[in-house]
């Protein structure tokens, strides 16, 4: 536990220095606090609006978790399918790349038309934003298996499926998990995009929605407080997945080789 605290210390110190500089900059009149609220005002807003922020956080967190789950399942499945089918690779890969360039606002209207104001259009948007790194890392991970390893399995009479199950799948797992961590980092901003680009019922529907509302009503401190929650959420997600990766693929973590 003490080691964990020590490991987090550099990040905490950096945050303290950055927040201190920010505070000084605003206090010394560098910028209008209405445009850039000082950290102490943000902290006060965080405290005063804790219930509201928590409520919106749970909505956003649910979206991110489910959207990311969809992206991981879909991205991994597509990666595996592409690995097995060169035809599918040629057919689908370019479109998967292209899909990353589609502005969400463009497809928001039909999504809402099909699925209404609920959570489904948002999940789709998050999954669309997140799935790509999972596909790429899965495809690359599966292709990076030692060919001699596959040769060996052939001499042991392994079927195609068994070669996948015993060699390719576990070999690709660390790469796919790295893809998942990238997906997670963009998943949080994906939730913001999803909430702000698809219409929602009710006034409080996620942190992204709240940030946009505060932006329009000049509630800068609360807007920043909500952003801080997103910031911390992304960090928490990322390191949770890093821990999960160590459990799922322990052979990739050599003693002393922790570079994260």
């Amino acid at each position: 536990m003490r080691r964990g605290v020590l490991k987090a210390l550099p990040a905490v110190l950096l945050a303290a220095v950055a927040l201190g500089a920010w505070e000084l900059y605003v206090d010394l009149g560098g910028v209008d606090p209405a445009l850039l609220p000082p950290p102490h005002a943000v902290a006060a807003a965080l405290w005063d609006n804790a219930d509201l922020l928590w409520h919106n956080f749970t909505i956003t967190a649910e979206e991110v978790m489910l959207g990311l789950g969809l992206a991981l399942i879909g991205g991994f499945a597509l990666g595996v399918a592409i690995h097995f089918s060169p035809l599918l690779r040629r057919a689908a890969y370019p479109h998967a790349v292209g899909s990353q360039a589609v502005p969400i606002a463009v497809i928001a209207a039909p999504l809402v038309f099909w699925w209404g104001f609920g959570i489904f259009p948002k999940l789709f948007v998050i999954a669309l934003i997140c799935f790509f790194p999972v596909v790429v890392t899965t495809v690359d991970g599966l292709a990076a298996v030692d060919p001699d390893q596959l040769k060996l399995l052939r001499t042991l009479d392994a079927s195609r499926w068994q070669a996948f199950r015993f060699a390719e799948l576990p070999a690709a797992l660390p790469a796919a998990l790295s893809g998942a961590r990238i997906a997670l980092a963009v998943g949080v901003i994906g939730a913001f995009i999803a909430e702000t680009s698809t219409a929602t019922t009710g006034p409080y529907a996620g942190l992204g929605h709240e940030i946009m509302a505060d932006l329009n009503s000049l509630q800068a401190p609360r807007e920043y407080a909500a952003t801080a929650v997103l910031f911390l959420f992304a960090i928490a997600c990322f390191y949770t997945l890093t821990v999960a990766e160590r459990r799922l693929a322990p052979w990739t973590t050599r003693p002393g080789g922790d570079s994260r």
């Binding site: 030692d146 001699d148 390893q149 040769k151 060996l152 399995l153 052939r154 001499t155 042991l156 009479d157 392994a158 079927s159 068994q162 015993f166 060699a167 576990p170 070999a171 797992l173 693929a249 322990p250 052979w251 050599r254």
Partner: protein
């Protein structure tokens, strides 16, 4: 009736040079550039009787690995015929799967043959005790020494249940002391559980200590230049004058005759 027999076997690779690396590609001169073609084996005839240990020695580039892959059915000859009972390959690199424990690696062939996991592990564990690997069943490969990894790889080859074992420089990567230990250990293992063995090595002494017969290959193209019967009782000592004399004969066949 030979368990393994090759007659008049030739194998040619088309070689391409790209970005400073030499890669070999399967093919029979289809590039139409005969100067770039590398003949790995030229008119090689060899056989091993059931239960016989045939050692193949030669300098690097004499097509030893190609020879084993032909016997294991991983390649086909361009000319000549290869006949062999089902053969299992123990590759030069141990190629243990890093995500499986030692005992699961050893039991891989049984798992591929759809035996229940517990039963497969039990059979592998029984051999672990015999081969001085007891206590390391659950260790992952990166925790094992080079000699132990080779032994696990050998158990995996043995448990494939195939009548022919193809060993590709099994101790080439080990230090001299470990290698001597492993040679003694392999001799005992084969005495206990006789198999037809094709042992490829660049170590002439190893060949004379372990084999019933030694085939000496020369390089580029690989051709058989001598065959020596090793009709000596086992276990053999490397200081035995008969062993020394045969080693000398093999070295002369390789064009490396000692002091003469």
């Amino acid at each position: 009736m030979g368990a393994v027999s090759l007659s008049g076997v030739s194998r040619t690779y088309a070689q391409e040079r790209a970005t400073g690396q030499t890669r070999t590609r399967r093919g029979t001169g289809t590039t139409g550039n005969p100067e770039r073609a590398v003949r790995a084996l030229a008119d090689v005839s060899l056989h091993a009787d059931r239960g016989e240990v045939l050692a193949v020695v030669g300098p690097s580039g004499c097509g030893k690995t190609t020879l084993l892959e032909l016997i294991c059915g991983l390649q086909s000859p361009d000319a000549g015929t290869v006949r062999s009972e089902p053969a299992a390959l123990m590759p030069q690199r141990d190629l243990l799967l890093p995500w499986l424990s030692a005992v699961d690696n050893a039991a891989l062939a049984l798992r591929i043959a759809k035996r229940p996991r517990a039963q497969a592990r039990e059979r592998a564990s029984a051999l672990f005790a015999e081969l001085g690997l007891a206590g390391f069943e659950e260790a992952h490969p990166h925790k094992l020494s080079g000699g132990m990894r080779q032994r696990v790889a050998f158990v995996r080859t043995l448990l494939s249940g195939k009548p022919v074992l193809c060993l590709d420089e099994p101790f080439g990567a080990l230090d001299a002391i470990t290698r001597a230990e492993m040679q003694g250990w392999l001799a005992r293992a084969l005495a206990r559980e006789p198999r037809t063995v094709v042992l490829v090595t660049h170590d002439v002494e190893e060949a004379v200590l372990l084999a019933d017969r030694v085939a000496v290959l020369c390089a580029r193209p690989g051709r058989v230049v001598a065959e020596l019967e090793i009709a000596l009782p086992r276990p053999r000592a490397r200081t035995d004058p008969a062993v020394v004399a045969l080693r000398e004969r093999a070295l002369i066949a390789l064009g490396l005759g000692g002091d003469s």
